[in-house]
């Protein structure tokens, strides 16, 4: 695992390549976290691939409600040779939730970016097939957002169609 010093060195190298890329670093529970600028995510992940982090294990979304910028996307990188793991995080505001897609560089992100789009409404620019993946195609809203209520969403039952109602609560 890269220690706190190693993480700072890595962040410094990335900043040298692109001053805008790394916004902050965090060392939490023996694991390094890079907080990066959303615009530079593709280039940053490519540079980290050059450092040995050649496997993208997970991409997942977080909603930081009520803080702004509200939506977060996390990338879990793995270096199988050095047995290192590194988390790369970015945050985008709810008003403009656009993140460049990393699917062209990391095909594994395809399903996972679709899931984040489905659940949080983050738009991945450059994704080859950005559709809902778990929820129905005609579903409205993004259910994993923190202000989306649990329960109470309309459910379609065919038995109610005869009464003239398409949906019931």
């Amino acid at each position: 695992m890269p220690d706190a010093v190693g993480l700072e060195l890595l962040a410094e190298e990335l900043r040298e390549a692109d001053g805008e890329s790394v916004l902050d670093t965090l060392y939490f529970r023996d694991k390094g976290v890079l907080i990066v600028n959303p615009v530079t995510i593709r280039a940053t992940l490519e540079r980290l691939r050059g450092k040995g982090f050649d496997a993208l294990m997970s991409v997942h979304g977080v909603d930081y409600y009520p803080e702004e910028p509200r939506l977060g996307v996390h990338y879990e990188l793995l270096d199988m040779g050095a047995l290192d793991r590194l988390t790369v995080k970015l945050r985008v505001p709810l008003g403009n939730p656009v993140v460049p897609s990393v699917t062209p560089d990391w095909p594994t992100a395809n399903h996972q970016e679709r899931e984040i789009y489905d659940m949080f409404g983050v738009i991945f620019e450059g994704h080859p097939d950005l559709r809902r993946i778990l929820m129905p195609e005609d579903y409205e809203g993004h259910p994993q957002r923190r202000d989306f209520p649990i329960g109470g969403e309309p459910v379609l039952f065919t038995i109610d169609e005869s009464d003239g109602k398409a949906y019931t609560k």
Binding site: R85, P107, E115, M135
Partner: protein, 419 residues
């Protein structure tokens, strides 16, 4: 004379008028071939759940394949946000319903990392014993259902016979056969009962012999060999790009197994091997999983031999329930009990990603805590969800029958994919 009879028959005239020319032309001239788009599933016995595959066929050959999922999405991750940490465990267990000990451990491990709780050695060993039993159980269900897909029904009954032995063991230690809620934050729910160790030893004595029988039944069977050997291989680099882990990656020759590479939960105490394949075809995927059954048996035996004495759950009263007898005498224990049962424990704010090696690959739980007694976000990186992306590159250009075999060897669990 006979010709007169046939000439007068309208049916025979119709039959003779049919020309086979268009059919013969198919397959010779590529431009004339039509692609057929076919829905396989969502209710199809070979998809191991409610998976829909949109298959584009060129005759019998698969040209394109799109998995469509979400049919059993139940919003478990959303539900978990509304429950205190100890009540999340039974919910996440129901994601990948063949690997419930792994789901529970991934979540508890993430929570323990946030809380910085030490897990006693006995609890770690008990977790290992149950997780490896669970791994064998999962592989047995995979073996039985895969053999069923290849047309062998008796394997299914044999595998479920051994699965029953494992479920009986789970019932003995936790009271439940499936979704046991045995692993808790800080340890396990209860110590193993008397006689459990002997029962497990009886099982580990019988299991390798049974696995030998299964290997003899299948590995020398001509049909199985023809259906699996050299079918739908995918190279290691492709698998890594697609994020595929577990037996599928090991079948392609990459020995990545987190139990060895980054040991957790005392896995470094045990002597076991990582089976790997060479070709990365369906046969290797089959062989790697069968070989893993033997290794899991070895781990269970070693864990029973070295099972340490001591507590089976942390003595941190802020996290784990106090022993029942203390409630009658200690006011403090009563308060802790009350607080834990009503509100649950509070977890320091932070975000943790906790990966473990499940029967299907890297299973990881991401937990974000905002300092309250309920998680602000629970996300499972389910291996089936990621591995499913490899179906299309594996099967493109192969026969539709090989697609069935490949799907069986992929071992997707739709409960884990859809969550």
């Amino acid at each position: 004379m006979s010709t007169d009879v046939t000439r007068t028959s309208g049916y025979r005239q119709l039959e003779e008028s049919i020309t086979m020319a268009p059919l013969e032309r198919l397959g010779t001239d590529e431009l004339d071939q039509e692609l057929l788009t076919l829905n396989m599933g969502p209710h199809h016995p070979a998809t191991h759940g409610v998976l829909r595959l949109l298959v584009t066929l060129d005759g019998e050959v698969v040209r394109d394949l799109k998995p469509i999922i979400g049919y059993v999405h139940t919003g478990i991750e959303k539900t978990a946000e509304d429950k205190s940490y100890w009540k999340v465990i039974p919910v996440v267990e129901r994601m990948d319903y063949l690997a419930y000990y792994f789901n529970a451990y991934a979540f508890c491990g993430a929570t323990e990392t946030l809380l910085e709780v030490e897990v006693p050695p006995r609890a770690q060993y008990l977790r290992v014993i149950h997780m490896e039993l669970n791994r064998i159980m999962s592989h047995l269900v995979w073996l039985g259902t895969s053999a069923l897909d290849l047309g062998a029904i008796s394997m299914f009954w044999y595998c479920f016979r051994e699965r029953e032995l494992i479920l009986d063991l789970f019932e003995q230690s936790s009271g439940q056969r499936m979704h046991t809620r045995y692993i808790q934050v800080g340890g396990v729910a209860e110590d193993i009962p008397r006689g459990f160790e002997q029962k497990v030893r009886e099982f580990t004595a019988v299991m390798p012999g049974r696995a030998d029988q299964y290997k003899d039944l299948l590995a020398n069977n001509e049909i199985v060999l023809q259906r699996l050997r050299g079918v739908c291989p995918l190279a290691e680099e492709e698998l890594l790009k697609l994020g595929v882990t577990g037996p599928l990656l090991r079948a392609a020759g990459n020995p990545w197994d987190m139990r060895k590479a980054t040991p957790y939960c005392s896995y470094d105490h045990f002597d076991f091997k990582i089976p790997v394949g060479t070709e990365g075809d369906n046969w290797d995927r089959f062989a790697v999983r069968v070989a893993e059954i033997y290794e899991s048996v070895k781990i269970i035996d070693q864990a029973l031999d070295g099972l340490p004495e001591g507590p089976w759950i942390t003595d941190d009263r802020k996290v784990a329930l106090p022993p029942r007898h203390e409630l009658a005498t200690s006011m403090e224990a009563l308060i802790h009990h009350f607080k834990l049962v009503t509100e649950g424990f509070r977890v320091p704010p932070g975000e943790v990603y906790f990966p473990i090696e499940s029967p299907r690959g890297e299973l990881a739980c991401f937990v974000r805590s905002d300092g309250s007694s309920k998680p602000a976000r629970v996300h499972m990186r389910d291996p089936s969800f990621v591995n499913l992306q490899a179906t299309a590159p594996m099967t493109e250009g192969s026969y539709i029958a090989d697609l069935i075999a490949t799907l069986a060897m992929l071992d997707p669990i739709l409960g884990g994919i859809d969550r």
